[in-house]
Subunit: 237 residues, 2 copies
DNA sequence: CGACCTGTTGATACTCGTCAATCTGAGTGG
DNA sequence: CCACTCAGATTGACGAGTATCAACAGGTCG
């Protein structure tokens, strides 16, 4: 969490220490397990310590739409601090280590360190900015561009928390999950990925993504990292 | 703003009074005028007093995606309080009266009435919830359902601020704007609206929307107002 | 009155979904 | 150590939903 918060906010020593000593229940969770469900009213927030999760909603016809990938350092249901009933579900998509923090502890630390209120608020505002970008992505881009865009976002966010080396990273996301994220069918994801590979924009095998030409992938995905609101210019790297 | 905040948060007398005496510059703005633009770093937030506006982003190819309609009482760029550079534009889509409130005045009132921080934070969290629902709407529903859903949302939000009478309301939104909101072409919006009319779900002429059968429209749009997080059960009305 | 924006309609083309079969690789148990 | 299983990836054929293009109608406003 610290690393993630510091990628979007500058913390003082005291604040960092307060965060580090926050009581937290750590749990190991397998792949494809629900962390929270739509309709829940949790009394604690979850923090992804390692592994990947996703936030999603489901149509009346049972179609799933992933609205966000949750990466290490993310607080994907921080909203529950002020919205009593959850309007989305969160599940792991790889083995995860998840920390649970009581709402009362979060409220307490925010009261003692008012700047942390701003930091957490800012975190939720960036989530909202990502949702906005996804509405644009799903609403107005074709499947090829959409896919490239999502890959750019993932790479940039992973880089911000130190999980990218040499333009390569672990990416435990299936084609079915990508399909639910960009709003197309699994079959079409497969074809688009092959096209991206054929165009030399990505090397994606198993759980590993490598990007030989970041500039061209950015261009293909119409990717401008401004909406991620990262503090330093890690995005440019 | 008061009316809107009270639809999602219970205010005390003091808090209401503080909000009512907040310094605000009121400006009349014509249709299709920018209020703020992507890339701006405003030092004030805007409040829609009357009229309709929309938040949108634009693709590299120049395609527009509306990510939210801004109704009277909304604070559509409240995010700028903690995100310095805006990642979206806001324009009017009807003649509007807009109030501008300095960020410093908002910070000041939040410091004096800490519960207002929570109220404003909550407001931005509900915006995020709406974005999530829109990702689902655009990503996983067909045009007919999408259109019905957006109409349900508009009607519900307008009802929360007292702008609906007898299941009818003013709705100064063109078919081109609906198209940009639900991610389809203008032509297709036209056809879908005709279908909705033919099915007896809506009466939409000029700037006026009437809903003869709310339950059937809700069903057609797979609409569940939970994600709007309204305080009282106005949604059910 | 003419310009213009919005709404409407028809014809045609294309992106992408669906269905169904096959293939691959990573476990798992005997 | 190998057959078995199963999830995920891949491929082809076909169809549905929607985009695009183009033309025209109706209302508004300078």
């Amino acid at each position: 969490m610290i690393r993630k918060l510091e990628s979007i906010f500058t913390l003082s020593e005291d604040e960092r220490h307060a965060l580090q000593t926050l009581p937290m229940q750590v749990v190991a969770i397998k792949t494809d397990q629900a962390i929270v469900r739509e309709g829940d009213s949790p009394s604690r927030a979850c923090l992804i310590l390692s592994g990947f999760a996703c936030t999603y909603k489901v149509t009346a016809q049972g179609k799933r739409q992933i609205v966000s990938f949750n990466l290490p350092g993310d607080l994907p249901d921080l909203q529950s601090l002020h919205l009593t009933v959850l309007d989305n579900s969160i599940s792991t998509i790889s083995p995860c280590s998840v920390g649970f923090i009581q709402h009362e502890d979060l409220r307490d630390i925010c009261e003692r360190y008012p700047r942390l209120t701003a930091a957490f608020w800012r975190e939720t505002l960036i989530d909202a900015a990502i949702f906005r970008e996804w509405v644009l992505n799903v609403g107005r881009r074709d499947a090829y561009t959409r896919m490239a865009h999502v890959l750019c976002e993932l790479l940039t966010r992973l880089r911000a928390v130190g999980l990218v080396e040499d333009h390569a990273c672990d990416l435990p996301i299936t084609q079915g999950e990508f399909a639910d994220a960009i709003g197309v069918s699994t079959v079409h994801v497969n074809r688009v990925l092959q096209q991206l590979r054929a165009d030399g924009l990505i090397e994606l095998t198993g759980d590993r993504l490598k990007v030989p030409d970041w500039d061209r992938l950015k261009e293909a995905g119409e990717f401008d990292p401004t909406y991620l609101h990262l503090e330093s210019n890690q995005a440019a790297a």
